[in-house]
């Protein structure tokens, strides 16, 4: 092997050495998009699992398991309302991002709080739905169909809960004036992804028989 002398790159100009990246995209944003792409695989796996097992209630004689299916207990008007709430939270989130870009911190904070509240409402709706299902006799371990359903929708709920925590943190950081517009944009990406996943779950799990 030959030795290669590394020459100093004095002639290379970095306009801002903190933010310059080889891709031209900021690292946090690129990292978030990469994470979201990988999350597609995670949710894809769980949706596929639900599709495989949704018609397999555990009513096998001699084996334990409930014969109930989650789809028999769906309350579509109620779930439609929670879907609308999550869709509305996407609007408030994008308005928060726009306000952050315009440096209108008051409106940004208002929209962030609104998004967190709507996210909380969605979570409340999911807790209510799960409670109703358990009251009807469909627990997490009732059968494989129920396990697949709770794992899929529960993991989505966990994503929403993490998003709400991040939104609350963003509001606190904004109050301390240490929140960057880019941070709000990256948070917005996460939140919209949660909404996108629900769009798919709502159609495939709840609406398609």
């Amino acid at each position: 092997m030959t030795d290669v002398a590394l020459e100093p790159m004095d002639d290379v100009e970095f306009p801002d050495d903190v933010h310059a990246t080889s891709t031209g995209i900021s690292n946090p944003k690129l990292a978030m998009w990469t994470y979201l792409a990988s999350d597609c695989l995670l949710f894809g796996g769980l949706i596929s699992t639900y599709l495989l097992y949704r018609n397999r209630p555990g009513n096998i004689p001699g084996l334990s398991g409930s014969s109930l299916r989650a789809s028999e207990l769906f309350n579509i008007p109620f779930t439609s309302m929670t879907s609308f709430v999550l869709l509305m939270s996407s609007l408030t989130m994008v308005l928060a991002v726009n306000s952050a870009i315009r440096k209108d911190v008051d409106r940004m904070r208002l929209w962030l709080v609104a998004t967190a509240v709507l996210g909380g409402l969605f979570l409340g709706g999911q807790v209510y739905e799960f409670t109703e299902f358990v009251r009807e006799g469909l627990g997490f371990t009732s059968n494989v169909s129920a396990s697949a359903f709770y794992t899929l929708t529960g993991l989505h709920g966990a994503h929403v809960a993490v998003g709400v925590l991040m939104l609350i943190s963003a509001v606190v950081y904004a109050a301390r004036r240490t929140l960057t517009a880019e941070a709000v944009e990256v948070l917005g990406l996460y939140w919209h992804f949660v909404d996108i996943v629900w769009v798919v779950i709502f159609a495939i799990v709840y609406l398609i028989p």
């Binding site: 949710f43 495989l52 001699g62 726009n98």
Partner: protein
């Protein structure tokens, strides 16, 4: 309140990065109402069998999938700014999505979810297991 966001105003416009974040609030509201209308149409399909009969499901299922894709693309393009950002981000996201779709469609096909060929362990309700089948270890499929 007169607080300001700590935005790095001196940050340069990097090659490939679009600092024009595109749509106005009014555009976002427009897209939102389109999404609401699509959601309303989706929900209406739930009642189609009552309104139009069981046969309407053959139209409802493809329509639901189409509407789901339209909503997905609208949110990703406009709300997530993919349409206005670097193309690299679009490629990264849709690559992950495409890999997920291909992998799981193949997995579902292997497990016979798209065909009803008698495999009792996936999608179709399983057959009744009789005590004799359990004792003798009779193969019920899979």
């Amino acid at each position: 309140m007169s607080a300001t966001i700590d935005v790095d105003d001196d940050s340069p416009v990097h090659p490939g990065e679009h600092h024009d974040h595109g749509p106005s609030d009014a555009t976002y509201f427009k897209v939102f109402w389109i999404l609401v209308a699509i959601t309303a149409l989706e929900v209406s399909t739930y009642f189609w069998d009552v309104w139009f009969g069981e046969s309407s499901w053959s139209l409802a299922v493809p329509l639901l999938i189409l509407l789901m894709v339209v909503k997905f693309v609208l949110i990703a393009s406009v709300f997530m700014h993919l349409r206005f950002d670097s193309k690299l981000l679009t490629r990264i996201f849709y690559f992950g999505l495409a890999v997920a779709c291909i992998v799981y469609l193949v997995a579902l096909a292997v497990m016979n979810i798209f065909t009803d060929n008698g495999n009792p362990w996936f999608n179709d309700p399983p057959p009744a297991v009789t005590p004799s089948a359990v004792v003798t270890g009779e193969d019920t499929g899979g």
